[in-house]
Amino acid sequence: MNAIAAARRTWNERLFYLFALPFAALVIVFGLWPIAQSIRVAFLDSYTALSPDPRWVGFANFETIFADPYFHASLRITLIFTALSVVANVAVALGLALAINSPLVRRGSTFFKLCIFLPVITPDVAAFIVWKAMYDQDFGAINAALAALGLPPMAFLARADSALWAITVAELWKHVGFYTIIFLTNLALLDPELDRAAMLDGASWRQRLVHVTLPQLRPAITINAVYALIQFLKTFTVAVVMTRGGPNFATNFVSYYAYRRFDEALYGEATAMATTLFVLVGALGYAMYWAAERRDWR
């Protein structure tokens, strides 16, 4: 009997690998292979990188980018923007999810969910073109509102000190719906008995949130934070559409800077930047996951 069960298990395993094989092949060909090629180009001379006889230059491209003060600034800006965006998105998404989950808005919850999720499915480029128009100093809706309030106009995207904040708000609008839906799904799975028991014990709303609800939401917070970290470290489209890395390099994120280098035919440096970002995303993503899993949330 055991032999039959073992044979069936072996067969099932084989069948599983047989079905998984095409997808594994696709991942290797279209996922891992390009990444490996990109990392390889980071060690080649830019001028021969796309030729059949590329010249290996070791870590020269990495030395060049790490000696470049604009790359340092780009890294710093990317990290600041990521920190701001992760905190803002996770916090606002949590707040929105708790608000929509509240019995007070239950009747209109579908409408609110739709409103919050709509930006997520809006094409990035279209959304950011609209935001760019809204921020316009002369014709933008935001400046029209400021003018209606008797406030002076502001060139949100044309000033180095405000462009990063302006982009952070646009990115928050674009992505917060995704994180909110994950929180809402997890809130629906919470055990209501725990909340009721805490209420009977006289716990306040705040105490119940901090000591009952949030610890149960830990997996969702971890996933959202790690996913947001990965997403915002790689931010690209918003910079291309709204600021082109400006003004004066205030939004020159690493992805965009690498693209600019690629456009100057400096393929080695561009992929060295991309490789650095890849390592950074992996390391920070893992560190955040490890820290979130390790922490006692009670």
Binding site: Y47, Y70, G246, A265
Partner: protein, 426 residues
């Protein structure tokens, strides 16, 4: 009877095979978009009349993709038959493909009468002693002003920088329709955007270089250059001639400013006029063309030849002989007329110009002074990086205007010269 039928079928089959063996498909890679595809389709129709076995198809890529794909294709022996683009872009392809672009000097000699190609054209088409493109379209850029705005301001077409400043101020203070408007539409987001704008003012007032001369000397602190540069920076800052958003503007945003009626003065390329003339664009023919403003008394203002578009043949083109023949055809009167009609530019002047509007004739049959761009990228391989370095410094000056612009220019010149000296071959 059966035998005859079989014989006829055999002859037909043999003929089909023979014709099929001669049929050739030429592929051209360019970045001219829909206009370019339309142009090459028209060329294909014309060319097939004399070369029935040859079909020409074109593929248009965004410029950045055109670079990568062309370089990779030539390096991996999967090159197209022809490349069509600006001279300086072909240089980059050549330098990154181990010079695998055909030297067309001898082909030009076989092209018949090419007296319309000037010495300057030949110089612009030549790199490292090799003719890398057949010059097909001179790219001219003039200064444009919204005619109705000019009349409202009670001004003449601006011929000096002082005129530009005065008109710009009037436009800003009394915009058409009450909506905010600016004197000038410029672009500044990318290095080429900003330096290209500066090029137009520099060459338009008769200077020969914007940033570096062929000997590798940075020229920005030379008195005449410094004067134009200072005024150019002030256009963004003190004079507020441009929208504050311009620092993030690339060419699409610049066109939005021009066509959306938000700027009174702007660049007009020869390729723009057909669309802007016919009423299909918002500008609706409401613009006047002229040379770029002069910055100093005694300067002779000019229209700028900002580039040369042409055709190049990769050494490993699959149908090299046919590709070279088609490249020669692009210099014929028919092909040149088609070029003028579809893209607003050509190198021949002996082509029909009947029915062209006054503004199209301004470019097609230029009467004023023309000053050509100096193509520093053809002399200095590091030029794109130098331009990026210069762009960073100019953007910093626009974002936080220095108190002493002369000192800023002098310091920038010193720094850039040191940068160049590190990279110049000794």
């Amino acid at each position: 009877m059966r035998f005859r039928k079989a014989l006829a079928a055999m002859v037909a089959a043999l003929l089909a095979v023979a014709t099929g063996a001669q049929a050739q498909q030429l592929t051209v890679w360019h970045d001219l978009g829909d206009n370019g595809i339309r142009w090459f389709n028209e060329l294909n129709e014309i060319y097939r009349r004399t070369h029935p076995g040859v079909t020409v198809t074109s593929v248009s890529f965004p410029t950045d993709q055109w670079f990568g794909r062309s370089i990779a294709a030539i390096n991996s022996n999967s090159a197209p038959d022809l490349l069509f683009n600006n001279y300086e872009r072909v240089i980059r392809v050549m330098t990154q493909t181990n010079n695998r672009i055909v030297d067309l000097s001898s082909e030009l000699a076989a092209a018949g009468d090419t007296s319309f190609i000037t010495e300057a054209d030949r110089r612009i088409a030549t790199y490292r002693g090799r003719m890398i493109i057949f010059p097909v379209q001179r790219v001219q850029m003039a200064f444009g002003v919204r005619t109705s705005w000019l009349q409202r301001a009670n001004e003449q077409f601006p011929s000096t920088w002082a005129d530009v400043l005065r008109l710009g101020q009037k436009i800003r203070e009394n915009p058409s329709g009450g909506a905010p408007a600016y004197g000038l539409a410029l672009q500044a987001a990318n290095p080429r955007d900003l330096i290209h704008m500066l090029d137009l003012f520099m060459f338009g007032t008769g200077l020969q270089h914007t940033l570096i001369n062929p000997e590798g000397r940075i020229v920005i602190a030379e008195p005449r250059h410094a004067e134009v540069l200072k005024e150019f920076i002030k256009a963004f800052t003190e004079y507020r001639l441009v929208s504050p958003e311009t620092v993030n503007h690339s060419f699409t945003d610049m066109y939005r400013m021009i066509l959306g009626g938000r700027a009174g003065m702007f660049r007009v390329g020869d390729w723009n006029v057909r669309g802007w003339d016919t009423g299909t664009a918002d500008l609706n023919g409401d613009f006047t063309l002229g040379p770029w403003p002069a910055f100093r008394q005694g300067d002779q203002n000019a229209v700028v030849i900002g580039g040369m578009r042409g055709v190049a043949v990769p050494e490993n083109a699959p149908n090299r002989a046919a590709a070279l023949a088609f490249a020669r055809f692009l210099l014929s009167r028919e092909a040149q007329a088609s070029s003028l009609n579809n893209l607003g530019a050509a190198v021949r002047s002996d082509i029909p110009m009947d029915g062209l509007s006054e503004r199209r004739l301004f470019f097609a049959n230029p009467r004023g002074r023309l000053v050509a761009y100096d193509f520093p990228e053809s002399v200095h391989e590091f030029y794109p990086q130098l331009e990026a370095e210069y762009h960073r410094r100019l953007l910093a000056a626009i974002a936080s205007p220095p108190r002493d612009l002369d000192a800023f220019i002098s310091q920038t010149s010193t720094d850039l010269q040191a940068w160049v000296d590190q990279r110049r071959p000794r």
